[in-house]
Every structure is written in structure tokens, then in C-alpha cells.
């Protein structure tokens, strides 16, 4: 379904993605992990065409992605930060996003699930962060698309909403969809992920089942496994770069400030 | 005996009019040409010319008669002669269309010329493409009224004046329409005359032009789209009342141009949308009162040598510049005018602003120095400059100031 070939991207002098090769062809949930600045979001946004890669190719359904973006009708995307035009009402926003897509939307069921009925006529600027995130989720999940990309979906959610979200994610997996998720909540990964892609400094350091990762570094939990990975250098990048040593040193430099606080 | 003589005189006097005749000219009339009828006519006779085209210009009238057109007969001067020449007192010419005198560089050919006589009446004529329209020389006590004098200006050198007076006095010029000449009406050494309710427009130079003419009055006229509306030069005691000076646009275009005149009165006129409303130079003791200056480029521009003039109770509204002055203005009086741009206050509510108004802005000065800067007019920068100059005047003259500016415009 989605293939990335030698994808590279720099922002100024900062190399964010360095020759990424990845494929998402099998249904299931892939957790894209890595510390802040490791290139997770950039990777996902490249797939959506929001970031334009410097080099490499992205194939969707076997074809290079179209800059006009019509392929995006097959992708649902949950952005990391949920901020909307402050003066639009919730219902208006949902209607607007619906008007951009040809597919059938199941917004009514989602509004019920997340309990948004009472705020439908409120202006978005008046909503709390958690409620906005729920609106964000409705906008993302209301389409039946083969690919779902969720960037930090749990941020600010109350427990009930979190349960609903998990249900939805599991349903989607059962429906044979491809899900890409970034999150800092390792328990969520352990609970749901079929596959883990670990990114660091713009390279893939691990790509496999969560169990394999724990096994490889001999840690009982994913959380520990990641921490271990960041501090030790058990692994080297999967692709062999010409300057692997330099990268490792730089990597070690970052370990001092591990961004993972699960 | 004396009684009898007086009686006889009375009879002669009363029977005089009865003795005059009416002569008809035209196809199928008693006279086939105007000249024949003129030869036959006696003092006080009336010649009626019927419709048709007459090619016998110039028609020279050497006796006191009335020459009337009936059905607008055409006198065609065929491009090389004058139309009508009046050489006797008490002549009336009315109801003709006089055409096509042609242009000349040697003689001032006229549609109708009055030579050295008095008590003439010229009315209800149409003068089409005459070099000069109506030319009065050494004439007095006459009337020129209801004529339309329509020329086609080619250039100042080969255009004449619509109504031209040279050494005349006591002439009434009223209700005429003059268009397309060099000067619409031209006065040189013409005195004690009245110009009323005429329209003078589209003339190359001036709508009305006075040279060395004293004690004249013009009132209720409209001067529109001329090179300059009216020019008064080297004249004294001219009264200018109730006239409209409108749309006299262009380089050096004025509503009213005053040059070396004295003791004039300019009252209740409207100056609207002229490049310069009034331009005055070397003119003294002029009284400007109750005039409206609306939307002119410069409402009043005073060049050097103007003393003891009075500007009082005028409205200055919507002009790009209200006042420009060169030279010493201290002997002139400017007061009680309404200035649209006045921003002062009136705490004692007497209708007069409590701070004097200085109508000359810094930007006036800048534009005088570098004319191209006019393209910056009304920019924020210019407003700032004007404001700072207003706060602490350096370059603008302190003696141009209205100490009693009115808060509200005068209703007229």
C-alpha cells in the first residue's frame, strides 16, 4: 500500500530523515517510536504530502503520490495539536471537513461515542483541550479509509474517551486497515502494536514485532527496552550508512537528555 | 407765434413715427437685396429681411434704421469679408445668422462692427465662425443682448474675441452665449459698462478680459472651461458680483486673474473647481467678501505687491490649498472667513474660533519649490510635515492669518 524509498529530508542544516526505506503493506497497527526530533512526525507528514522530501520516493497504491493530493481520500490523519478556527462551531467544522471528502462519513456515531452532542453548536475557541482532541478524533475517524495515521492520539483524553479510542483502533485493525501511530505511551504500544518502527536521528534502528525488540535488548517491558536502546547503542541503524560511527557518537550525545518520561 | 411754432413742432414729432416705412427684402419681396433696401430707406425706417441666404457682405448701415431678420436669414461673408458694419447712430440689428468671415492676420474682421456712434442695439443674432464676433470701436450707449457667438478656436493667433470693445462707454452686454474664441468678451479702454448674465465658455484665453478699463461692472455671468475665467488688468473700480467661475483648468489656469488693478470689489462670487480660484498680482485695495471657494486647486494665490486688500466672510471649502502668498502680506486683512480645514475650537460659543487660522501650509511652500512634489499631496508624510509646521512655524508666513476664523460656513 505505502512504500518509502530512500526518503531524505533536511530542515536547514538539520537532517531529519536520512534515506528511509519502509513499507506498510500488511493490515495492522504500526507504532512509530523515537525521541522528540527523531523524525517521526516528519515521516508521517511526508506520507501525507505535508512535508516535501528532498530525495526519495513515496508510493501509494504503487504510484508516486500526486501533489494535488487526491490520494489522501484514502488516508485519515490525526494531527498532533488540535487547534481549529476559533469562531467556527463544532458542527460547522465537521460539515466542512465532510464537504472535502467524497466518502460516506460516520460522524454521527462518533459524536455520540465521544459525547460531543452538547457542544456541537459551541464555537471551537470555547472548548477545552480535551474536548478539542475529541473533535479532532471525530474528524479523523469518521471516514472508512484503508489507511489511518494517528499522531499522538491520546493527548489530553479522559479515560472514557481513551477506552472508546482504543476500541475504534482495534475495530479498524479487525477491518483490515493499516494504522500508523506515534505515541509516548508505551503501554499503549505494548497493548496494541503489531509492529514497531524505532527512529533515531532520522534513521530506522529497529523495525519488527514488539516482542522481538524486548528480546533483542533483553528487557521485560517495551519501556525499558526503549530506554536501553537510547542509552546503550545495542543496535546500529538497519541501513548501513557510510558514517555510522559519527552518527552513533552524536546519538550518544543525546542520551543525556532522554525525552521519554513514560 | 411762438405757440404756433411749438404746435407745429409737436405735430412733426408725433407724425414722425407714422412717417417711417417698413421695407421687405427677400425672394418675392419688394427688394431683392439688402443693399437696395438700405439705399431706399430713410431715418427710422425698418427693413425686414426674410429667410434666405444673402451673399452681400459687408452690409454697411450708414443711416439710423432697424435691420430685422425674419426667420433667421443668413448673411454669408464667404470667408473674406465682414458681416455687418454700423456707421450711424441709433441702429438696431436683430435676428440674423452671420457666418464665416474667415480669418485674417492683417485686419480684425468682425461679424458685426459698430464704428464711432451711439445708441446701437444688437440682439438675437447668431454669429457662426466669425473671426471677431461683435466689434465695438468708439461706440457708446448701446446694447448687445441675446446673441450666440460660436467660434471654433484654432490657436490664439488666429482667433478673435467674441465681443470686443475698444474705446467704448456705457454699453450693456447681457444674456449672450460666447464660445470658442480667444477672449469671450474683451474690454480695452471701455468704461461705465455692464456685463450681465452672459455665459462665456471654452475660450482659448479668457472668458472676460479687461485692459485699461475703469468703472465697469459684471454680474451674474458664468465663466466655464476657459484658459482663465476672467482677467482684469490695469483697470480701476471694477465690480465683480454674483459670477460663477467654474472648471477653468490647466497650467496657469485661473478662475480670476487680477493684475495691477485698484479699488475693485469682488463679492458673492462662486469659484469652483478651478486650478487657481483667484490669482492676484500688484493689486491694491481689493475687497473680497462673501465669496465661495470650492474644490479649487489653490483658492487664492497672492503674488507680490498686493497691499490693503481685504478678505472677509468668504467660505473656503474643499480646496487643495486654501491660500498661497508670496511677499509681505502685513497690510492685508484676512478675517472672519470660514476655513474648511480649520481644526480649532470655540469655547465661548460665539461662532468664532478661539485660535487664529493660518491657511498657508508647509506643503504649499514645498510644492512652490519643487512642483513635482505635488504627487505626494495628502500622503501621511505631508500631513506629518504640515502638522509639525503648524506646531512650530518656520517656513510659512506668519502674516497670513485669520484671527477670527468662523466655525461654520456661511449660508448663502
Amino acid at each position: 500500500m505505502i512504500q518509502l524509498h530512500q526518503l531524505s529530508k533536511s530542515f536547514g542544516r538539520l537532517e531529519v530523515l536520512r534515506g528511509i526505506d519502509l513499507a506498510f503493506d500488511q493490515p495492522g497497527i504500526t507504532a512509530v517510536l523515537g525521541p522528540n526530533g527523531s523524525g517521526k512526525s516528519t515521516l508521517l507528514k511526508s506520507i501525507l504530502g505535508m512535508v516535501i522530501p528532498d530525495a526519495g520516493q513515496i508510493l501509494f497504491h504503487g504510484k508516486p503520490i500526486d501533489p494535488l493530493g487526491s490520494y489522501r481520500k484514502d488516508i485519515s490523519y490525526l494531527p498532533q495539536i488540535a487547534r481549529f478556527p476559533e469562531n467556527l462551531r463544532v458542527a460547522e467544522l465537521i460539515r466542512m471537513i465532510e464537504s472535502f471528502r467524497p466518502q460516506e462519513s460516520s460522524s454521527a456515531a462518533l459524536i455520540r461515542d465521544f459525547g460531543l452532542g452538547p457542544v456541537l453548536q459551541s464555537q471551537l475557541g470555547h472548548l477545552s483541550g480535551g474536548t478539542r482532541q475529541k473533535v479532532n478524533l471525530v474528524l479523523t475517524l469518521m471516514y472508512d479509509t484503508p489507511v489511518i495515521i494517528l499522531d499522538e492520539p491520546t493527548a489530553g483524553l479522559d479515560p472514557v474517551a481513551l477506552v472508546r479510542l482504543k476500541d475504534r483502533i482495534i475495530q479498524a485493525r479487525e477491518a483490515g486497515k493499516i494504522l500508523l501511530v506515534t505515541t509516548h505511551i508505551m503501554s499503549l504500544v505494548e497493548e496494541l502494536a503489531d509492529r514497531v518502527v524505532f527512529l533515531l536521528e532520522g534513521r530506522i534502528y529497529f523495525d519488527g514485532k514488539p516482542g522481538e525488540l524486548k528480546q533483542r535488548v533483553a528487557e521485560p517491558t517495551l519501556e525499558k527496552a526503549i530506554a536501553n536502546l537510547l542509552s546503550g547503542g545495542h543496535l546500529s541503524p538497519i541501513q548501513l550508512p557510510e558514517s555510522a560511527g559519527r552518527v552513533t557518537r552524536k546519538m550518544n550525545g543525546h542520551v543525556v537528555h532522554p525525552q521519554y518520561n513514560p | 407765434m411762438i405757440r404756433q411754432l411749438l404746435f407745429l413742432a409737436l405735430i412733426l414729432l408725433l407724425s414722425g413715427p407714422a412717417a417711417t416705412r417698413t421695407l421687405h427684402v427677400g425672394p418675392g419681396q419688394s427688394y431683392s437685396s439688402i443693399r437696395r433696401a438700405l439705399d431706399a430707406a430713410g431715418t427710422g425706417d425698418r427693413i425686414i429681411v426674410h429667410a434666405g441666404t444673402y451673399q452681400e457682405c459687408p452690409v454697411v448701415i450708414d443711416r439710423s434704421i432697424t435691420l430685422s431678420g425674419y426667420g433667421l436669414p443668413i448673411l454669408d461673408a464667404q470667408g473674406e469679408r465682414e458681416g455687418v458694419i454700423i456707421e450711424a447712430d441709433s441702429v438696431t440689428v436683430e435676428g440674423f445668422e452671420i457666418r464665416h468671415t474667415g480669418y485674417s492676420y492683417i485686419e480684425d474682421r468682425a461679424g458685426i462692427r459698430v464704428k464711432r456712434n451711439k445708441a446701437f442695439t444688437i440682439r438675437n443674432n447668431r454669429l457662426i465662425l466669425t473671426f471677431f464676433g461683435i466689434y465695438l470701436e468708439h461706440a457708446r450707449s448701446g446694447v448687445v443682448e441675446n446673441n450666440a457667438i460660436l467660434g471654433k478656436p484654432l490657436g490664439e493667433a488666429n482667433s478673435g474675441n467674441g465681443i470686443h470693445l475698444w474705446y467704448c462707454s456705457e454699453v450693456d452686454i447681457r444674456n449672450n452665449l460666447i464660445r470658442g474664441h480667444r477672449d469671450g468678451i474683451y474690454f480695452e479702454f471701455a468704461t461705465d459698462s455692464r456685463i450681465r448674465n452672459n455665459i462665456s465658455e471654452d475660450n482659448l484665453r479668457y472668458g472676460l478680459h479687461f485692459m485699461f478699463s475703469n468703472d465697469d461692472i459684471y454680474t451674474g455671468n458664468t465663466f466655464r472651461e476657459n484658459g482663465a475665467g476672467v482677467a482684469v488688468m490695469f483697470s480701476r473700480r471694477i465690480r465683480m458680483l454674483h459670477n460663477l467661475f467654474h472648471l477653468n483648468w490647466g497650467q496657469a489656469a485661473y478662475g480670476l486673474l487680477l493684475k495691477e488693478i485698484y479699488d475693485a470689489e469682488i463679492r458673492e462670487n462662486t469659484f469652483q473647481k478651478n486650478t487657481i480660484g483667484i490669482f492676484t498680482e500688484g493689486s491694491n485695495r481689493i475687497h473680497y467678501e462673501d465669496n465661495d471657494f470650492l474644490q479649487n486647486g489653490w483658492a487664492v494665490k497672492v503674488a507680490g505687491g498686493c497691499d490693503q486688500n481685504t478678505f472677509i466672510r468668504n467660505n473656503f471649502i474643499g480646496n487643495s490649498f486654501d491660500f498661497a502668498a508670496i511677499g509681505n502680506m502685513s497690510s492685508n486683512r484676512i478675517e472672519q472667513n470660514f476655513w474648511g480645514d480649520y481644526t480649532g475650537y470655540d469655547l465661548d460659543k460665539d461662532g468664532t474660533g478661539d485660535v487664529p487660522y493660518r491657511p498657508v501650509k508647509l506643503f504649499n511652500y514645498i510644492v512652490d519649490q519643487t512642483p513635482e512634489t505635488i504627487i505626494l499631496m495628502r500622503s501621511l508624510l505631508v500631513e506629518i510635515l504640515n502638522f509639525s509646521e503648524k506646531v512650530s512655524p518656520v517656513l510659512t508666513p506668519a502674516d497670513v492669518s485669520d484671527a477670527l476664523p468662523r466655525m461654520h460656513r456661511y449660508g448663502r
Partner: protein, 260 residues
């Protein structure tokens, strides 16, 4: 794209900033009428306000809206929509909302004053047209600035600098230049320099209505041809339109390359 214009417009016309802006013009124009019954004076004061405030507000608004809708823009980018419709749509939404706000605020008092019965209607229309054009031009510039600079302080700072330059400094240098080289024929230069500043252009457009009597007094043939005929007005309008089109084209080009 029409849908995006519509929603962006719908969002903005409910913004209190915009209410404030409309209210400002209502109060300003209304007060001008109350203070002075003289229509041409109202016109001149309003003209100063338009040339001064419309560009500043439009610039800041363009910058602000671009920044504060970044995340929402990302949401739109994830939809099956071409980029150019997203960005042009958003821009047109902002510009139209601003222009409407201005039109209502400045227009209502004029309508109430019965201007449509007077001969000033054309002057007034030109005034409104200039305000509308300036709204479109400067909101495009602001939007463009925000697109080019992710650093918000830099974006707002540049907006204010650009405004200062175009509103005052440019004319100051222009005036100095004219005074300095006043021995040379400068007509063409003067007209040329004017064309490069949209505020000056809008001003000239209004001048041609309000001050044509004075402008006709200038003794240069080129000026007269430019200012005295419909050529000037036509040229000014065309260049103003260009001033709107260029930043819009840049918005399009930059938005196609930009990462979010």
C-alpha cells in the same frame, strides 16, 4: 477552493477583531459626519484614515491569521485537497472578510448621510475601491510574510517595518530625492516611483478625484498626460491589481514548496 474561502470567511467574520475593525470605521466615519457637515472634509479625513490604517490592519491580520490557523491548515493539508486551493482559499477568505468589514464600517454612515443623492458618489466610490484594493494587497503581503517566516516575532516585526516603509519612509525619501534633484526633469521618475508603492498609488487614485484642480496646475506634459486623463486612473488601477496579484502568486509558489 470556494468551500475554503467560505469557511475561512465564516470564521473571520465572527472574530471580535473584525467586529472591532468594523466598529472602528463606523465610529470614525459617523463621528466625522457629526463633527463636520461638509462632505468633502469627511472624505479627506476618511482618506487619511484609509491610507494609514487599512494597510496596517490588513498586514497584521494577514500575518496573524496565517499563524493562528497553522494547525488547522495542517488538518486541511491532510484532506484530499490541492495545496493551492487551501492557501489561496484561506487568503481570499481573509481578504474578503477584511474588505467587507471596511466597506460596511465606512459605507453605512455614508449611505445614511444620503451621499447617493449627491454628486460626491464617484469620489466616495473611489475611496471605497481604494480601501478594498488595499485590503486585498496588504493582507496578501501579510499572509505571505507569515508563510515565509515561521518565527512569529519576525513575521509581525517585518509586517510593521514594511508598513512603516510604505506608509511614511518611502515618501520621505521620495520627497528628499525630488528636492535634491529638483534641477532635473523628474516627472517620469516621480510617476515611476509612485507606481512602486501601493499606498501612494491608492492615494493618487483618490487625488485624481479630490484634487484634480490642483494637479492640473502642474506644468509638465507627462504629469498632465498621466494625471489629467483616464490613462492615469487606468494605469493606477492596473498597477494596483498587479500589486495584489504578485504576492498572491508568491503565496501559491511558496505554499507549494513549504513543509508543515
Amino acid at each position: 477552493m470556494l468551500r475554503i474561502i467560505r469557511y475561512s470567511f465564516a470564521d473571520l467574520i465572527r472574530s471580535r477583531w473584525l467586529y472591532f475593525y468594523t466598529g472602528f470605521y463606523l465610529v470614525l466615519t459617523g463621528a466625522l459626519f457629526l463633527i463636520s457637515a461638509d462632505l468633502s472634509k469627511v472624505m479627506v479625513s476618511l482618506m487619511n484614515a484609509i491610507l494609514f490604517i487599512v494597510p496596517l490592519v490588513a498586514l497584521l491580520f494577514g500575518v496573524m491569521v496565517q499563524y493562528y490557523t497553522r494547525e488547522f491548515t495542517e488538518l486541511l493539508l491532510a484532506q484530499p485537497l490541492p495545496r493551492r486551493s487551501i492557501f489561496l482559499g484561506q487568503y481570499l477568505g481573509i481578504a474578503t472578510a477584511l474588505a467587507m468589514s471596511f466597506l460596511l464600517g465606512a459605507g453605512i454612515p455614508f449611505i445614511l448621510s444620503g451621499i447617493f443623492l449627491s454628486g460626491e458618489i464617484w469620489n466616495f466610490s473611489i475611496l471605497l475601491l481604494s480601501g478594498v484594493l488595499l485590503s486585498y494587497i496588504f493582507s496578501a503581503l501579510g499572509y505571505l510574510l507569515a508563510l515565509m517566516h515561521d518565527n512569529r516575532i519576525r513575521g509581525f516585526g517585518l509586517a510593521i517595518v514594511i508598513w512603516l516603509i510604505l506608509a511614511v519612509i518611502y515618501d520621505g525619501l521620495f520627497l528628499l530625492g525630488l528636492a535634491w534633484f529638483s534641477d532635473y526633469p523628474l516627472e517620469r521618475v516621480a510617476i515611476g516611483v509612485t507606481l512602486f508603492n501601493p499606498i501612494d498609488l491608492a492615494r493618487i487614485l483618490i487625488l485624481l478625484k479630490l484634487d484634480i484642480s490642483a494637479l492640473m496646475g502642474y506644468t509638465g506634459a507627462v504629469f498632465n498626460r498621466f494625471l489629467g486623463t483616464s490613462t492615469g486612473m487606468g494605469l493606477a488601477l492596473v498597477v494596483l491589481a498587479t500589486w495584489a496579484i504578485v504576492p498572491v502568486t508568491l503565496i501559491r509558489t511558496i505554499s507549494l514548496k513549504k513543509d508543515f
